[in-house]
């Protein structure tokens, strides 16, 4: 009857492991607490089903183990029992699915006041672009990528000139403000993944994808890549710092715009005006 004991141990042990093990998600730092709640609902429902099935299995094995003097009960089917179980399962599925779809609707509906930022992935580096004073990101194309224009920003688009470019440095975000994160890749698939934000999305070369979030607490968070992007995949790291508004503005003031970067890359004598006029 070792099987019965082992099955009971698996049911009880799994629940205990879930409750007492130190491994759990990182404290959330965005508005996606709903995702965590949906996950917890799912844990409760599935956990209950798992324990019920395994315990019942253990009971059956113990109670109906082989006995040469007994014959198995003959019952080809039981419509009522089966329909009841189907209905119960459908209900459980609905209870998990309904909040899930509700939260998904929020997830894909970007609030109107969200400010846009752009994350650009390449092997194996994160770059960021903020819209600058005019609040708009300029056009960008992978075709326009050159060594002095690594994000491929369209120089003929005036709204791109004041874009703030952050390369190989930390991204800062103001706390409490919704952000729409536009995702772009210039080589392979990447995935902008900050565990504390819960939200993530793949970046696809040739397309711009997005997700949105509102950072809810200040702090420094790791950025990882979550879509296999080659041998350097695990080394593709970055940092996001969520600041208070004042700290954020102070940081922003120190960053250079696309036009400034272009100017410093131009040979001496070339000025901003020429770059702008060069269009």
């Amino acid at each position: 009857m070792a099987v019965v004991l082992v099955l009971v141990a698996i049911a009880v042990g799994s629940v205990l492991f879930h409750l007492v093990s130190p491994w759990w998600w990182t404290p959330i730092a965005s508005n996606w607490g709903y995702i965590d709640s949906t996950l917890v609902i799912t844990f409760w429902i599935t956990g209950a089903v798992f324990v019920a099935v395994v315990m019942f299995l253990a009971y059956c094995i113990w109670r109906f183990r082989h006995d040469p003097n007994r014959r198995a009960h003959y019952e080809p089917e039981n419509r009522r029992l089966e329909s009841g179980l189907a209905a119960g399962t459908a209900l459980g599925v609905f209870v998990m699915l309904a909040p899930g779809l509700f939260v998904w609707h929020q997830f894909i509906t970007v609030p109107a006041d969200a400010s846009e930022i752009e994350v650009v992935g390449q092997q194996w580096l994160w770059s960021f672009r903020l819209p600058g004073a005019d609040g708009r990101l300029g056009r960008a194309e992978t075709r326009d990528v050159t060594s002095d224009n690594p994000l491929g920003i369209d120089k003929t688009d005036a709204s791109g000139l004041d874009d703030v470019i952050i390369q190989g440095a930390e991204l800062h975000l103001p706390v409490g403000k919704p952000v729409k994160v536009l995702l772009r890749s210039i080589d392979v698939l990447h995935d902008f993944y900050v565990p504390e934000f819960r939200a993530k999305m793949d970046m696809i070369p040739g397309t711009v994808t997005y997700f949105w979030l509102t950072p809810t607490r200040t702090g420094t968070f790791d950025v990882l890549c979550a879509e296999l992007c080659g041998v350097g995949h695990p080394q593709m790291r970055g940092t996001v710092v969520v600041d208070s508004e004042a700290d954020y503005q102070a940081w922003l003031a120190q960053q250079s715009t696309f036009a400034q970067l272009q100017a410093s890359a131009q040979p001496a004598g070339a000025t901003m005006a020429e770059v702008a006029a060069g269009k």
């Binding site: 698996i10 599935t46 109906f64 003959y74 459908a90 779809l101 894909i108 993530k200 040739g206």
Partner: protein, 592 residues
């Protein structure tokens, strides 16, 4: 309760069964090597699949060693690590599981269970195996090709898969992988046509569809699905091969690699993902449905009770098969596809949980009030239920679109799919081998070795993959050569990784005992006799054990009843073979 109203008039005269012409082997070569006998082809398929599976097992050891002791094994660099995960994944999913369930069990069991002499197209069946073997050899050639096998991940996502800094991307690796897959698909199609047409046309007299054992239902439905799903992989492979070899841009947008603009432009990487998962999701059920079918028969036979709710089980198999074609994009929730697809695919995905859950209930309800023999096949079937329920339930996390967002691409996903389509189906394979080995060889597998193998495999596999979910919950992404320094992964995760690796080594080692048992019992196993489990289905009623060429001697069997007449009230024994005439028990008239 013997029902006299069904008398001799219902016995179908044997003369009504027409015989089929068979290709009879003339030499040792055509008997054992280029054989057209489905039973020999089955053994060829199974041996090849297990041999290549062993390679994949060793690869998983190497990966686990790297994850537990990063940097301690200098020959596992990140390049090799990604080659290992790619080959491990592809081998296990396609070349082991698909080939073993359909090519192995399908070939052995379909003709025997439906009462046919052989598959309907034996020659195509033979070609199917040889193409499979060539596909395996081409795949293995990747290990010896310059640059090694591809390291693109088993999903082979472009553009990464064919770029120069991906292992095998600009060398032979990816080409060999794609060619191997194309060969496999062509070979499989030849076999698949056989399995489908044999079930449709090869059934013996009296074998209606509703008298088929669930094993046949599972394999049949899975084959139909595979025939329709594999073309998607074929299309994806051909187009990628064009991109890689001829420089087209089906999947390749404008790309800057190493500061250089590549010639490609305009292609769509997401198109590949749609094609891949249009194959990839049905593939999960192509593996699962035969396992569902086989486990139903194991449970019923060893609990001496008819499978509970047979009709529901059949409908569930068909419904799952159909639904599985409209859930593919749940692998792509965070791929950047149109986000509104999420609503549709989350709904279909969770709906598929209902028929699947019903199957689980019916397995458990079959045990309820049964007369359970804890034989090895039964133990493996029980272990399957536990691991499948566990893995199926975590699927509800990943199928529910918004819950998938934080969990996708983490170790949670790895734990989930290993539990549900790695461990669970492989436990069924073991159960099935312990169950049918006596029919295939005439001898029982050694019980002691089997017990050791079972306990280590079951408990060990659970201990590997259950805690792994929590590594993913912490936030560790999958496909990481090493996690390195992070602020959110505690040091204790590292200890857990070491534990998982040790368990993986132990479980892997236990499989060597199983392989040894397979060979040892060939000579030293206990003589089994024709029907050691006292089972009802036709394969146990053959005149010889192992069944001879042509399976049935002079006359084909005639089927008088369904496959699950166990413990029928009034019957002298607790089982009535399908080919035994005479009515006992609850007939329509007795109920009326």
């Amino acid at each position: 309760m013997v029902d006299a109203s069904h008398g001799a008039s219902d016995v179908i005269p044997p003369a009504a069964v027409e015989d089929v012409e068979l290709y009879h082997p003339h030499s040792w070569w055509t008997r054992y090597v280029f054989s057209q006998d489905a039973k020999v082809i089955a053994i060829q398929y199974a041996s090849t699949a297990m041999a290549i599976g062993l390679v994949a097992l060793v690869l998983s050891w190497l990966m686990r060693l790297q994850l537990a002791f990063p940097g301690d094994f200098p020959f596992i660099d990140s390049q090799r690590y990604y080659q290992f995960i790619t080959m491990h994944g592809m081998i296990m999913v396609i070349y082991l599981l698909t080939a073993l369930f359909l090519g192995g069990f399908g070939n052995y069991l379909i003709p025997l269970m439906v009462g046919a002499r052989d598959m309907v197209f034996p020659y195509a069946n033979m070609l199917s195996y040889w193409l499979y073997l060539v596909a395996v050899l081409v795949l293995v050639a990747g290990f010896f090709a310059p640059g090694g096998p591809t390291g693109a991940g088993w999903t082979l996502y472009p553009p990464q898969a064919i770029l120069s800094n991906t292992p095998g991307g600009q060398d032979w690796g990816i080409i060999l992988m794609l060619v191997s897959l194309i060969l496999f698909i062509i070979g499989f199609t030849m076999g698949g046509l056989n399995y489908v047409v044999t079930v449709l046309q090869g059934r013996t007299r009296g074998m209606t569809l509703m008298r088929l054992p669930l094993t046949v239902w599972g394999i049949f439905t899975a084959t139909v699905m595979a025939l329709l799903a594999f073309p998607a992989l074929f299309v994806a492979c051909v187009m990628m091969l064009f991109d890689r070899v001829l420089g087209t841009s089906f999947f390749m947008p404008a790309i800057v690699e190493m500061g250089e603009q590549l010639k490609h432009g305009g292609g769509s990487p997401i198109l590949f993902q749609h094609l891949f998962w249009f194959f990839g999701h049905p593939e999960v059920y192509i593996v699962a449905l035969p396992a569902f079918g086989i486990v139903s028969d194991l449970i019923s036979t060893h609990a001496r009770k008819n499978i509970f709710g047979y009709r529901m089980m059949v409908w569930a198999i068909v419904i799952i098969g159909a639904l599985s074609f409209v859930v593919w994009a749940h692998h792509m929730y965070v791929s950047g596809m149109n986000p509104y697809f999420g609503f549709f695919f989350a709904t279909t995905t969770l709906i598929i949980a209902v028929p699947t859950a019903l199957k689980v209930y019916n397995w458990v309800l079959t045990l309820w009030r049964g007369n359970i023999h804890l034989t090895l096949p039964m133990l493996f079937a029980l272990a399957f239920i536990v691991t499948f329920v566990n893995g199926g339930l975590t699927g509800l996390f990943l199928g529910n679109v918004v819950v998938d967002v934080p969990l996708s691409d983490t170790m949670f996903v790895v734990a989930h799919f290993h539990m549900v389509m790695g461990v669970a189906p492989i436990l069924v394979i073991f159960g099935a081998i312990y169950h049918w080995y006596p029919k295939i060889t005439g001898r029982m597998l050694n019980e002691g070795m089997g017990q050791v193998h079972f306990w280590i495999t079951f408990i060990g596999a659970y201990l590997i993959f259950f805690p792994m979910h929590y590594v993913g919950l912490v936030g560790v992404p999958r496909r990481y050569y090493e996690i390195g320094e992070t602020s959110f992964v505690p040091a204790s995760v590292h200890d857990l990784n070491i534990f998982i690796t040790v368990m993986a080594l132990v479980v892997g080692a236990a499989q060597m005992l199983f392989l040894f048992n397979l060979f040892w019992s060939l000579r030293h196993g206990r003589e089994a006799g024709g029907n050691p489990w006292r089972a009802t289905t036709l394969e146990w009623q053959t005149p010889q054990t192992p069944p001879a060429h042509g399976n049935w001697g002079k006359d084909l069997p005639i089927v008088y009843r369904w496959a699950y007449d166990y413990s029928v009230p009034g019957a002298p024994e607790d089982f009535i073979p399908q080919n035994q005439p005479g009515a006992y028990g609850l007939t329509r008239e007795a109920i009326a």
